[in-house]
Subunit: 254 residues, 2 copies
DNA sequence: TCTGCTAATTACTCCGACATATTACAGGAT
DNA sequence: ATCCTGTAATATGTCGGAGTAATTAGCAGA
């Protein structure tokens, strides 16, 4: 038997060619396979309608057991990426069946070169949802919410967005706003999108200088929410989303 | 060995007690288990932090193989409902880790008695997103989009919402609007929410009379989109969402 | 041409064994 | 007494193979 594909086992020194699908410890094998296949689908390497090779063949090609391969397929099925039927095989579903808002799917989409149009779509969605979230937060926040936002803002100022601690504070700030909306659906939606988008932005950003000090714009949002001014909060948050879009766009056109 | 739980195998005539977790043909066994466990989690039967009994024990209790049980767990893991670690077991994750916008999770949530607050959250989200979608559709629709909407409206008029064909036409109408936004993220999000919410509304509605003829309100949306009037489209769609909320609320308080 | 049967293929399910990771506990050093 | 370290127990993770069931496609007959 000839090994044609890069192994997923870490105990093999051979790590030639292909995607770095080696699983580090702490990551399950089937998780690594789901990751690999998910990225392959999201990147267009497998197109909707394509049928994957049979279980036995593909599992052998990946040098994993059928169980591990099958569990990976179940994960992809759960996310609406593929569908399996006896005799017909496993085929990639049309894009409109994909759970594009699943955090993991988003991560896979952004792991490679994300489709520009899709990024635009996501920011359009953020531009709709986040100002509305800020509006709700301005109406429903309590003292505790404001305290958390204030602390996060202070931490952002201390560390700046260039450090991991600073970015964590940024996330905390936005999460605090979402939490103040008292709306779980809103929280889940925006948190996953924001995480995926921001993560890649930061990743690709590397040594690029930030276009503009983001702190004052954040403070404007905070002030509006603290003042209980829904309209102002929505407007200020809109500015923030626009800046993020600008930021991501400039990071992508390279 | 004593059988303590209702079987999931259809070849057993005994179908006593418990949820009807029997899998009809066409449904996979692990899918049925995921469905059963998913509903149990969403309904609060298992609370966040609870640890499930071990794989061997639970699989035996359900009278399925460990493989089938494990594949079901992978599905739940993919949806953020549970997390498994060696030695620690499989535990239900906190609610903020759940992929509440996953179509299947939504279906599970609405299969039982959905949490009132959660339903409110979803409608709040719809009230934010759908008018914005109508606004975009008014700006970007082409002749083909309008034709599909018009056909769907005609079908709605013909069949009324009391028939399955009429409800299908309603879905087509809304999907056409979402398609006209040219935004996949928007489409996936709203389609899954709308499907879950409408499905239960219709399900619980049964013999209840519709509060008001919905056709004119739909026509207002169509006219605004056809006229390319974003503001009017958003306003008209807002009315539609409000009506749906009213409808669902009255259907739930029984 | 259409309908019903047959057969082949593929995913699905089961089983039993072993490997691995993580936790918990015990013992010793500080 | 507290902290660290090594060790053992335990539940999940991975494996390989065997047999089942469902769906499709092709074929035969009306």
């Amino acid at each position: 038997m000839v090994k044609e594909n890069p192994s997923l086992h870490s105990d093999e020194t051979d790590n030639s060619g292909g995607a770095k699908a080696v699983r580090g410890p702490g990551r399950r094998l089937h998780g690594a396979i789901a990751h690999k296949l998910g990225m392959a689908i999201l990147s267009g390497q497998y197109q909707p309608g394509d049928v994957l090779s049979g279980e036995v063949a593909f599992a052998e090609e990946l040098e994993v057991s059928r169980s591990a391969y099958r569990e990976a397929i179940q994960v992809l099925t759960a996310k609406g990426l593929v569908e399996s039927r006896p005799k017909a095989g496993t085929r990639v579903l049309p894009r409109n069946r994909w759970n594009l808002l699943d955090p993991e799917v988003l991560a896979w989409a952004f792991a490679g070169e994300p489709d520009i149009q899709f990024v635009r779509d996501l920011f359009e969605l953020r531009a709709i949802v986040e100002p509305a979230a800020a509006r709700l937060a301005a109406q429903r926040r309590d003292k505790e919410d404001l305290r958390i936002m204030k602390d996060a803002l202070a931490a952002m100022r201390r560390h700046t967005l260039a450090t991991e601690a600073g970015r964590a504070a940024d996330r905390d700030f936005h999460n605090a706003i979402l939490h103040a909306t008292r709306n779980d659906a809103l929280l889940v939606l925006t948190a996953s999108i924001g995480a995926a988008v921001n993560w890649t932005t930061q990743y690709k950003q590397r040594a690029r200088a930030l276009p503009r000090n983001p702190i004052p714009d954040h403070v404007r949002v905070y002030d509006a929410i603290a003042a209980g001014d829904p309209a102002a909060a929505a407007e200020a948050m809109g500015v923030l989303v626009d800046l993020a879009l600008e930021d991501t766009a400039s990071a992508m056109e390279r």
